[in-house]
């Protein structure tokens, strides 16, 4: 029952992300647009390009959706509102979200189209840039919580949220989460102006609808993960826990979408250079600083 509720909340969240994205992109707040656009996409033809790798082509959007949903399953919205309180939760979300790469590579390879292929390979490079910056900050979070249980991670932030305790880790994780969700400054795989939507280029109709839904869900999952790991999850005064979770997740989503509007798209080579020459030394420094802090002032 709980899992069904959480999946429905996730879908509602994906809808809100779509509304927010449109609002931030073109300044019009319209609540019906995502629903109408979704129905319209169901009504359009879903063309399969000639000579595709059919298995890859069909699997990619579904795998992306599964990856986003499974990632969200270990994140608590309130102390009880969590599908599976896995003992390895913080590790499981990494494992689930790695399949984003697999799905995008499949979507790139499958249709046998040049733009899609370039998008897919670009995302592989992007993974090499961002992956460490997802994993390393989470390690520092687990060090403070002494556990990989996501509920325990939230409880460990009762005195002081991790965004204050380890701001460096928060900054790195936030940027890396945007890169993982291929949001605008890092949308190398689906670059509209360069690649005619890249990995999405060959998808149309219902398959595109699934792809877009998966991407929106992914943004939601990552915003929820940021809230759980750094913003104290459900904790906060006056309001009930679920309200705090919801408000924080929406705020983080809006911040991610807004940040993307303010920057030009980064080149893949630059992204990797920044990730490895600046990001990873900073992430290691973060682990060391948190290590000292945890011993001195728990």
């Amino acid at each position: 029952m709980t899992s069904l509720l959480i999946i429905l909340l996730l879908l509602a969240g994906a809808y809100l992300v779509a509304v927010l994205e449109a609002w931030i992109a073109n300044g019009r707040l319209r609540f019906a647009t995502p629903v109408l656009a979704g129905i319209a996409m169901l009504g359009r033809e879903s063309i399969v390009p000639r000579q595709p790798d059919r298995i890859f082509f069909e699997t990619a959007p579904v795998l992306l959706l599964i990856s986003a949903i499974l990632g969200a399953m270990v994140l608590p919205l309130t102390p009880d509102l969590i599908t599976t309180d896995l003992a390895t939760g913080a590790l499981f979300i990494n494992a689930a979200l790695v399949y984003v790469l697999v799905a995008l590579l499949m979507a790139g390879w499958g249709p046998d189209g040049a733009y899609a292929m370039i998008g897919g390979w670009r995302f592989l490079g992007q993974l090499i840039a961002y992956a460490m910056l997802i994993v390393m900050p989470i390690t520092a979070v687990a060090m403070r919580a002494e556990s990989l249980l996501t509920t325990q991670i939230v409880v460990s932030q009762a005195g002081l949220w991790n965004i204050v305790y380890q701001p460096l880790g928060f900054g790195l994780f936030f940027v890396a989460a945007m890169a993982l969700a291929f949001l605008p400054p890092f949308d190398l795989a689906t670059a509209n102006s360069e690649l005619a939507s890249g990995v999405e280029a060959e998808y149309s109709g219902v398959r595109l609808a699934v792809f877009r839904l998966a991407r929106l869900t992914l943004v939601m999952t990552l915003a929820a993960a940021t809230v759980v790991f750094y913003l104290g999850g459900w904790q906060g005064p006056w309001l009930p826990p679920w309200a705090w979770s919801g408000l924080k997740i929406l705020a983080v989503t809006a911040a991610m979408l807004l940040a993307g509007r303010l920057m030009p798209r980064i080149r893949e080579a630059d992204l990797m250079a920044w990730g490895w020459m600046l990001g990873i030394p900073l992430a290691l420094l973060n682990i060391f600083l948190v290590g000292v802090l945890v011993l001195v002032w728990p």
């Binding site: 046998d112 002494e146 280029a201 990797m272 250079a273």
Partner: protein, 120 residues
């Protein structure tokens, strides 16, 4: 819930997601089918088939990063159990992992100095 039940639930959610997508496909099917017309199924390259074949070997120009990435990714597998017991073990854990990470970081610096961190 035991952990086996938890993983069973996650498997069920995976299957449920596939079922949801299949039902969407079935719903879309009731609206109508794509008509087969010449030229419609050409991949998006300005309406023509691309000049060169697409499924060929690509040069992974970031292989320097990729090799370093492998080393760091393996290292992270050790970091997670270490992070969980870190506070219990205390200073010894910090020094142990500090030495390990320092050696790894020296590897990164060495790779950097040898020009691994650029597109080749």
């Amino acid at each position: 819930m035991s952990s086996l039940q938890q993983y069973g639930l996650l498997l069920g959610i995976t299957i449920g997601t596939v079922g949801f997508v299949l039902s969407l496909f079935a719903l879309a099917r009731t609206f109508g089918k794509a008509r087969r017309e010449p030229g419609k199924d050409v991949p998006a390259t300005a309406g023509q088939l691309s000049r060169d074949p697409v499924w060929v070997r690509y040069h992974a120009r970031y292989y320097g990063y990729a090799l370093l990435f492998l080393a760091f990714d393996m290292e992270m597998a050790f970091m997670y159990p270490w992070a969980v017991v870190y506070k219990q073990v205390g200073l010894v854990a910090l020094l142990d992992m500090g030495v390990f990470l320092a050696i790894l970081f020296l590897g990164l610096l060495y790779g950097w100095s040898q020009g691994a961190l650029r597109r080749q």
